[in-house]
Assembly symmetry: C2
Homo-oligomer: 203 residues x 2
């Protein structure tokens, strides 16, 4: 095994150890360097061979979480293309993601309102991706004017993320309920936006 390869491997095990530590009771700002090192099976000081800081690791984790989220979007789009209804498919895909990648979504949710400006900004960037994509999609499928499509997309993303937050602490049964409710709420938003378009056209 080459030196470079081994280094990447250790880096991976640090990242994965950190994700495992980020359960429902720990946030990025509450895990210590030593703790991560211990979980990764390296000496505390070896940590510095891979990250300058524990904050640098934090940003890496946010990036990785964002990446996972973007893959989720792609997956949802593929499913939508093969029929099933946009709202239904999107929400179901999202809920599956949350269930399967518990700690990943929790990280984003927590750092979204967390104590580090840098982390908050990083999460916001990821959410913005969602907004932009959903706005574009809405315009191209419904012909809504930009301002309305954008408001609609933003509202929908917020509602879905809020529902995701609820789902994190919920039982499997409650999760189904949360999913159903948010679907109905998304329909409210969609219909309300359509109506706003009609009103805008009448002026």
């Amino acid at each position: 095994m080459s030196r470079q390869e081994q280094k990447l491997r250790t880096r991976r095990s640090i990242i994965e150890a950190a994700f495992l530590l980020l359960d429902e009771q720990r946030s990025l700002s509450s895990i210590s360097l030593r703790e991560v090192a211990r979980a990764a099976g390296i000496a505390p000081t070896s940590f510095y061979r891979h990250f300058k800081d524990i904050d640098e690791l934090g940003l890496t984790l946010v990036d990785e979480a964002g990446l996972a989220l973007r893959q989720l979007m792609r997956q949802a789009r593929a499913r939508i293309a093969s029929g099933g209804g946009v709202i239904n498919t999107s929400v179901d895909t999202f809920m599956e993601f949350i269930t399967a990648n518990n700690n990943v979504f929790r990280l984003l949710l927590r750092e979204h309102t967390g104590t580090s400006m840098a982390f908050r900004a990083a999460v916001l960037r990821e959410i913005k991706h969602f907004n932009v994509e959903l706005t574009d999609y809405t315009i191209s499928t419904t012909g809504l004017p930009y301002n309305i499509a954008n408001l609609q997309a933003e509202a929908m993303v917020k509602l879905v993320f809020s529902a995701g937050a609820e789902a994190l602490d919920a039982s499997e049964e409650q999760k189904l309920n949360v999913a159903e409710r948010v679907k109905l709420q998304l329909r409210f938003v969609v219909n309300g936006a359509l109506q706003a378009k009609a009103e805008q056209a009448n002026n």
Copy 2:
């Protein structure tokens, strides 16, 4: 000054010192007992004369924040009664609250997704108050059936809280923009819910 009075006074200064510490870079789980004691001007060990734990202080802070929020609701209701539009008045009142009680709202927002189950539950309780009150209000003013009114209320509260989160990091100018946007989004929801009612009636 009586002994009891003095004790209450010290307790107050602990609580207020803690609120001051909870700026944009600190959360309940990241402030230390010693730090709070220092800020309150007492010896670390004296803290225990007032709270069993720092967690007990945390719950007290969440309760106080919830109280402030409920007072806000009452204020909004009073303003609505004297005319001005429900959505407009509510959002404006909310935004004023956030601006004036920065750290109080931030606490609720942060602990809503925080690392302590107890804190999360405490915040959820406060949010539920909002939902119940708004649902009742909606039913009594629009005659919407319970299930729709409840979905609508929940969606509105989520959107307003999300907007509040944005407003926390925003400049005065951006805050106005956030307020305008969320008002439009709330109208989407309201109109969408009305439409759902009409559809439900047609069956």
